[in-house]
Assembly symmetry: C2
């Protein structure tokens, strides 16, 4: 069990090639005992962005503050506070700060490459695990 304010977690630079003005906090990770997925917070400065890249894992994102653009091979979509974003595996994408304040968002990823799971009832998980 862990309860922590985000600003107690170290803010580290994102040093991946193609990133600019992007920092990350690993709020909940494998080192905390999280068995399946990790919760990170990104802080992107105005004009900054994550790499324009693709990978085999998905992103589940929740924007906390600021104004961003999700730019993918399919086009560009604006987002801001209280928007949820799903980026499926293998879609080329970048998150860019298009505003004047720091863009903050949660971005969760699985620990390993996901296996596409088939459910007999696609809503079964919602019924079974609703709290």
């Amino acid at each position: 069990m862990k309860v922590i304010h985000y600003d107690e977690v170290e803010l580290e630079p994102v040093d991946a090639e193609g990133a600019k003005g992007a920092q990350i906090r690993w709020l909940i990770a494998q080192k905390d005992g999280a068995p399946t997925f990790a919760m990170r917070m990104f802080e992107i400065e105005p004009g900054g962005h994550t790499p324009f890249h693709q990978h085999e894992w998905e992103h589940e994102v929740y924007c906390l503050s600021g104004n961003g653009a999700l730019i993918t091979e399919r086009g560009e979509m604006a987002f801001s506070a209280d928007d949820a974003i799903f980026v499926e595996p293998n879609l080329t994408h970048t998150f860019k700060n298009v505003g004047k304040e720091t863009l903050k968002f949660l971005c969760l990823i699985p620990h390993e490459k996901p296996v596409i799971k088939k459910a007999l009832n696609p809503f079964a998980d919602e019924e079974a695990n609703n709290c």
Copy 2:
């Protein structure tokens, strides 16, 4: 790909036994193509709570607003906006609104019972998947 404001997602009652004044929105779920885990938002009215229960899956939580208490078999911890919370599998727990406004938090869960994964390097995921 999906970009959606949380209030565009249906707010449904949590009808699990032991829940009181609790509602849920499934922001990102299996029906969206999410392969591994689901993002839900809970809205708990003052005095309300989720069931005091345990299960084999973990919770990764981020509090958006309000004042809550995480009550577990090990004791009680206060939380509020911008706190991240990890509840490991099989820990008996409830989230309770102890404030005067609606308590809102994200709560993410895996679609299936998690398998405890062993990594040779417990930080490997952070190095490999940092954006």
